[in-house]
């Protein structure tokens, strides 16, 4: 274990800020992953772009995406370690969201292949990705505003019998499953402290509440890997600690988290590993403490006029 990593690691409590420690909830899936082992295994990984990980859940090779003449993403190789929180950072326009879309098949790369849990997902349509155990959220929150919070939650459950056209007119076929889904959704809402909004239209929630709802809804899928696109963007500071606690809580139940973030404080606080992108390429990888010293990262951020540039002194 390197000095920087050890130092940084000591700053981060295992399960996020204690004051917001999540309630234990049966609705949350528990995966059989040794989180502590997964995290410590990262210490063996070299700090270089495209570094291979001991137990990767997601692997991408030669992923290239062009828009017209512009190459938005050009990633030779990237791996995401199972059971840890990985942050994807980079200046504006670095191609983070595009890479996200490519990894979740919401966009098709011009070339490249992706493996999830060892299975090729190149030809898998976006809607089937959830079935593989990978769920994403969006930068602009997609709370379904004219549905209630509980309807939003119930939508997340997979393999619902009542979602087939012919079964839907015969409630007797799906009522029992629906009740199970509903009680699981209610438990999750309690866990996220949103039970009092259960029957409100999602459109009436605040920005941070929508982010929470989106995350809770994604968990209804019972995913192995959660991909969060800027989970903290536009969130009221009072809510950020709670959100962070929930994210680390996911990891501690064995889920893999990959998230895009601008705010370096958040990245330092919760991530186990950081991947830095600039101009469509991965330019650096390493534990959060190592990133601030990386010359390529410094150049990329100083070279861009982005106003929320890294506060590079922090955490190193």
């Amino acid at each position: 274990m390197t000095d920087e990593f050890a130092k940084h690691d000591a700053l981060v409590p295992e399960a996020g800020p204690k004051s917001h420690a999540p309630h234990p909830a049966h609705a949350l899936p528990m995966f059989d992953v040794d989180v502590a082992a997964a995290r410590s295994a990262l210490s063996e990984v070299p700090w270089e772009p495209g570094a291979s990980k001991p137990d990767p859940i997601l692997v991408a090779d030669n992923v290239v995406r062009r828009f017209g003449g512009l190459t938005a993403v050009d990633v030779d190789h990237v791996e995401v370690q199972r059971g840890v929180i990985t942050a994807l950072i980079g200046p504006n326009g670095a191609g983070k969201t595009t890479l996200f879309n490519l990894l979740t098949n919401f966009d098709t790369p011009d070339t490249g292949s992706r493996l999830f849990n060892g299975q090729a997902i190149d030809k898998v349509p976006a809607h089937k990705i959830a079935g593989y155990g990978m769920v994403r959220t969006f930068q602009l929150t997609k709370a379904l505003s004219k549905m209630t919070v509980i309807e939003n939650m119930k939508l997340g459950a997979t393999d619902q019998r009542g979602e087939s056209l012919f079964a839907s007119v015969l409630p007797v076929l799906w009522r029992k499953q629906e009740n199970e889904i509903e009680s699981r959704a209610d438990e999750l809402l309690v866990h996220f402290k949103m039970e009092h909004m259960r029957d409100q239209f999602a459109g009436t929630l605040s920005g941070g509440q929508r982010k929470l709802l989106e995350m809770a809804r994604a968990l209804m899928v019972e995913p192995e890997m959660v991909m969060l696109d800027e989970p903290m963007a536009g969130v009221n500071p009072a809510l950020t600690q709670s959100l962070l606690g929930h994210v680390t809580g996911l990891r501690d139940r064995g889920m893999t988290v990959l998230f895009v973030e601008h705010d370096m404080d958040m990245v330092q606080e919760i991530s186990d590993w950081v991947i830095v992108m600039a101009e469509g390429k991965i330019i650096a990888e390493g534990p959060p403490g190592s990133i601030g010293q990386n010359q390529a990262v410094v150049d990329a951020y100083l070279g861009s006029s982005h106003d929320s540039a890294l506060d590079l002194g922090e955490g190193s």
């Binding site: 979740t104 919401f106 349509p125 976006a126 809607h127 089937k128 990705i129 959830a130 079935g131 769920v135 994403r136 959220t137 969006f138 997609k142 379904l144 505003s145 004219k146 549905m147 309807e151 119930k154 939508l155 997340g156 997979t158 619902q160 019998r161 009542g162 979602e163 087939s164 056209l165 079964a167 839907s168 007119v169 409630p171 799906w174 629906e178 239209f201 459109g203 009436t204 989106e214 809804r217 994604a218 209804m220 899928v221």
Partner: protein, 344 residues
Amino acid sequence: MDYQAIIESLFRGLIGERFIVFALAAIGLNLHFGYTGLLNFGQAVFMAAGAYGLAMMVATVGPRLNENTGLNMSETTLFWVGVFTAVVVFPILFALVMGIPTLRLRADYLAIVTIAVAEIFRIVARSPRFDWLTGSSDGLTGFSGTFYDLSPFSTTGRYFFNLFTGNQFFLVLVGWTILAIGTTICWLLVRSPWGRVLKAIREDEDAARSLGKNAYSYKMQALILGGMFGAVGGMVRAVGFSVAQPDNFITDVTFFVWVALILGGAGKVFGPLVGAALLYAVLDSSDTVLRQLVENDYIPSSFMSGTQVGQVRFMIVGLGLVLLAAFRPQGIFGNKEEMALDDR
């Protein structure tokens, strides 16, 4: 002024054949637009599919089949085969043609293609070249006998406060039964997990896909099912007036359905019924009032002639669509939270 005629037209508008036809079409459009967010501007084509599916099977295709294959289906058999064609086969075909190219694209492409299909239908149905099939601009007749043979009412008597003849009354009763069944099905559908997925797609397709829902497939299912409701409406129209003509199903007819839907409230189970009743009560009674004003020279003929009265209702519909979409997208009785038009 003949006030009785005005009141009669008001009531016929509220409960009569036209109301039934447009309420059924609007139930279908409600599944398309109100619940799934599909911009279908070709509902009239689905109505035409229903009308022509039946009329062609009984009047042109069926007899030819009998001739060429020696099947010898009776007119009654042909009628029921026609009903099946009208309600199942044609709507599926039309929905596939409209949906396959567009349902993966942004919402307005469906609008363009549905209007294009309506125009294709108009050109083909009116073409003398297909006279043997569609009866060109005169359309087809003589296919509704089997239906009226089932009527228990006397053809000479008047029913329901003298509003309807026996045949009309039979049609209206059957129509209301279909409406009741249709509304119940719709009610069950939209309260089910299936309906929940539709609403999610309406709100945000990508979110639905990220949660594992095959948006394309659900949109196609909604397009087909809503098209079937439209086809039933078109079939009722064809049987009710005993004729299937291309001009009954021009694109402008679609806009009537839209006004009915938005008026009653898109995304509400009873919206189509309320909207169609209101629309036809307003249109039919204002039509009668205007005609009487023109006939009795209260309105000078230099300002408005008899044929121009018919055009006024289209203006009302157009202006209604503008004002509703701009000011009351939630329908005249709706509340703000449930607005179906905004937020996209």
